[in-house]
């Protein structure tokens, strides 16, 4: 950090807007505003330059301003008294806060679920079913000579992905950068990524599975019915050409987005893609990675996985983790009217869940933590205003290729961090449950619950 002409410069800051988590930002700070964000893409610039401290109360209880202590007390009471609470969100906060959120879910015997369940949750299920042939973005930069984007639009959603990692940079084994690479885009419409690709295959909507399945067969040398053209909108000759390119490249990588994981077929689409990448390793080096959206959604998967053994949709009601997407994922258990309380951290389910799920969320008491006012915070029983991670708060986040990166905050905030609020909440919950602050590693949870209510 250095001072210059009334400005403060923060070097090597990290942008947490998207899953690229670019850590080469040079931020110029004047007063309480960031006035310049060098190296940032259009999304990163909007993220940094539009940041301002809002004058909102630190906490609201049923819409009325309250102190942090009062809000923590009310929130703890709600969660401790709940029989089927859910802890949800977590993708836009630090790993340190995520870790405490999982601990809270464990103490209160609830479900813990992240926004992964509504974006790349199917990918998580597919990883479990097939396995993931994985590599870091650094390997892609230095080695990949065939890059396939499937059902994603990095030019608009991850603008620096192509320039920093996947298509443009010169690497150890691709010294001429873009000239040494073949870039393929498979999508249902001609997006802004299409001009950056050498080959664009426009397939029919919802026909990804058939296309990937045909590619799998072609790679194995199995004859494919020419009807594939009618099914996918792309000729068998083009699929055959792509299969040959995949087999003959030196280092191939397939990046897939929600065009694969959230369209008809969901996790089975991703299973098909993962199986294709696995099969290709009989011929060459081939890898596959999801294009993760939110800044630290990959961290949420990692933290929940190392704490419970599963990445999302985990139920801890019986004191041990159980994983069942569809049963313990928030959108589903809200839509079925099952949860009786919720703790929502850094996400906005009232803006994007289905109608039955939103209606049920409005019926139950819930706590929301968010730096901004959102539909979810507006209707929350208890709402906390928190500092923004990456801008105000330090911590750890994971890049989309599971590489942890440290944050360098640029500005202080008058609001507490998610981690601080959650830590206070966890402490109060433990007090209510009669669990001391000197933690026993594995206390018999249910007996504590009984003691608290006897």
């Amino acid at each position: 950090m250095s001072a210059n002409d009334g400005f403060r410069v923060v070097e090597n800051a990290t942008c947490t807007f998207c899953g690229c988590v670019c850590d080469d930002m040079i931020l110029k700070v004047q007063g309480d505003r960031i006035v310049e964000a060098k190296n940032a893409c259009v999304l990163g610039k909007a993220w940094f330059l539009n940041h301002q401290i809002e004058s909102r109360p630190v906490a609201l209880i049923e819409g009325q301003p309250a102190s942090l202590d009062e809000a923590v007390e009310r929130a703890a009471q709600i969660l401790v008294n709940a029989r089927y609470p859910v802890v949800y969100g977590l993708s836009d906060t630090t790993c340190e806060a995520q870790r405490i959120a999982v601990a809270i879910a464990d103490w209160i015997g609830g479900c813990v679920d992240t926004t992964t369940s509504v974006c790349h949750g199917p990918s998580g299920m597919a990883f479990q079913g097939v396995g993931e042939v994985t590599c870091s973005l650094g390997e892609v930069k230095n080695r990949a000579d065939l890059v396939i984007f499937w059902g994603c639009n990095p030019a608009e959603s991850h603008p620096r992905h192509m320039t920093r990692y996947s298509t443009m940079p010169r690497g150890l084994f691709v010294p001429r950068g873009r000239k040494d690479r073949t870039v393929v885009l498979v999508d249902v419409r001609r997006t802004k990524t299409a001009p950056a690709a050498d080959i664009f295959l426009q397939i029919k909507p919802r026909r990804d599975f058939e296309a990937l399945w045909a590619l799998r067969a072609l790679v194995k040398g199995v004859e494919v019915d020419p009807r594939i053209e009618e099914d996918t909108g792309v000729s068998l000759r083009q699929w055959r050409d792509l299969a040959e390119r995949m087999k003959s490249c030196k280092f191939g990588v397939l990046f897939f987005g929600m065009g694969l994981s959230m369209t008809r077929g969901k996790h089975l689409n991703v299973e098909a893609a993962l199986a294709l990448a696995r099969d290709l390793n009989q011929f060459t080096k081939f890898y596959i990675k999801p294009m993760r959206g939110h800044g630290n959604v990959t961290g949420a998967d990692n933290v929940v996985a190392w704490q419970t053994g599963y990445p999302f949709g985990v139920n801890l009601a019986r004191g041990y983790p159980r994983f069942n997407p569809g049963e313990y994922t928030t959108a589903d258990l809200l839509a079925r009217g099952e949860a009786d309380a919720a703790l929502i951290i850094a996400s906005d389910p009232l803006a994007n869940f289905s109608q039955p799920a939103r209606e049920h969320l409005l019926r139950i008491p819930y706590i929301a933590l968010d730096p901004k006012e959102t539909p979810t915070t507006r209707h929350a029983t208890v709402a906390f205003t928190t500092a923004v991670y990456g801008i105000n708060v330090a911590g750890t986040v994971y890049r989309m290729d599971d590489v942890p990166i440290r944050l360098r905050p640029a500005l202080p905030s008058p609001y507490p961090s998610d981690e601080e609020v959650l830590r206070r909440l966890e402490r109060r919950i433990r007090q209510l449950l009669g669990i001391g602050t000197n933690l026993h590693p594995n206390p018999p949870r249910n007996s504590h619950v009984e003691r608290a209510f006897s």
């Binding site: 709940a82 029989r83 089927y84 609470p85 209160i108 015997g109 609830g110 299920m125 479990q128 079913g129 599975f209 058939e210 399945w213 045909a214 799998r216 067969a217 194995k220 199995v222 004859e223 494919v224 019915d225 009807r227 594939i228 099914d231 008809r264 077929g265 089975l268 299973e271 199986a275 009601a317 019986r318 994983f323 069942n324 997407p325 569809g326 049963e327 099952e338 949860a339 009786d340 249910n446 619950v449």
Partner: protein, 293 residues
């Protein structure tokens, strides 16, 4: 006969895996009422939710009430007969090994998931993943019979390894996905991608207009008449299975009440079927039998 009548509706999901004949029948009413169930994250007594009457001498348990939030009924049971009056929640008969379950109503997802033996007969509809594998498991149902007279959701028989699943109505996408072996029979319309990644096993589509679209990795093989289909059809008649799709197909013909005969004749087993073999992206020893129109 033991009768469990719901006296208090659960507010949040109630996990009652103790409701299985082989556990309940040897116990007295007082002992049954003290069995543990999980109401959300709290352990409570079965007697707080169900009034228990009768004795278990006959090995038969009847459960009645609003059961849609009650999970794991009959899970892991190994004998006896469980009759559910009303619509049950998820995981009915999951991992069961023997005995029979009859449901007069609908059931939730994961009906008979990973079951190994016994018979389940649902007179209503079923949710997703009938007889399937739980996430992370290699194989789903490994033996036994599941009969659903109504419709079922996605991924019927996901990872099926052995056994028979019969769906009397429509099914969603990916019916028979990842099947290792076993038989699935569907009387209604099917969704997309039937038999994807099937290694061995048979999927029979009885409806002459099932909406079947073969995957590009399947090949149309031959027109066949199969003896085992006749045997299957006869067996379903004996079990009193009334597929909803077939009864709607036979509208206008004399009803069961009028003729005194079961509405389901075994004639569908005597028809000719197109045999599609695949899935050649996998082992390719599976078959989909599609009724020739």
């Amino acid at each position: 006969m033991l009768r469990l009548s719901m006296r208090r509706e659960p507010v949040v999901p109630l996990e009652a895996e103790c409701v299985r004949p082989d556990v309940l029948c040897p116990l007295s009413v007082a002992q049954i009422e003290t069995l543990t169930v999980w109401h959300g994250n709290r352990e409570e007594k079965l007697g707080e939710f169900f009034a228990v009457q009768g004795s278990g001498d006959s090995g038969e348990v009847h459960v009645e009430g609003v059961l849609s939030k009650v999970k794991w009924l009959g899970a892991q049971m190994s004998g006896g007969r469980l009759v559910i009056h009303g619509s049950a929640g998820m995981h009915v008969g999951a991992q069961m090994r023997g005995g029979s379950i009859e449901v007069y109503g609908d059931v939730g997802d994961w009906l008979g998931a990973e079951m190994r033996g016994g018979k389940i007969h649902v007179h209503g509809n079923a949710g997703h993943l009938v007889g399937s594998a739980y996430r992370g498991s290699r194989a789903g149902m490994r033996g036994g019979v599941i009969l659903v007279e109504g419709s079922a959701g996605f991924e019927v028989g996901h990872g099926l390894r052995r056994g028979l699943i019969v769906i009397g109505g429509d099914v969603g996408d990916f019916c028979g996905v990842n099947v290792i072996a076993g038989t699935i029979c569907v009387f209604g319309r099917v969704g997309w991608r039937v038999g994807a990644a099937m290694k061995r096993g048979s999927v029979v589509l009885v409806h002459s207009e099932s909406g079947f679209q073969p995957l590009p990795t399947y090949r149309k093989d031959s027109l066949v008449e199969l003896v085992w289909l006749r045997l299957l059809a006869r067996q379903l008649c004996q079990w009193g299975f009334v597929p909803r799709a077939l009864s709607s197909m036979t509208q206008g013909t004399p009803t069961e009440q009028e003729t005194g005969e079961p509405i389901l004749s075994a004639s569908w087993g005597e028809q000719r079927y197109w045999r599609y073999c695949g899935d050649f992206a996998e082992l390719g020893k599976g078959e989909i039998l599609v009724r020739a129109s």
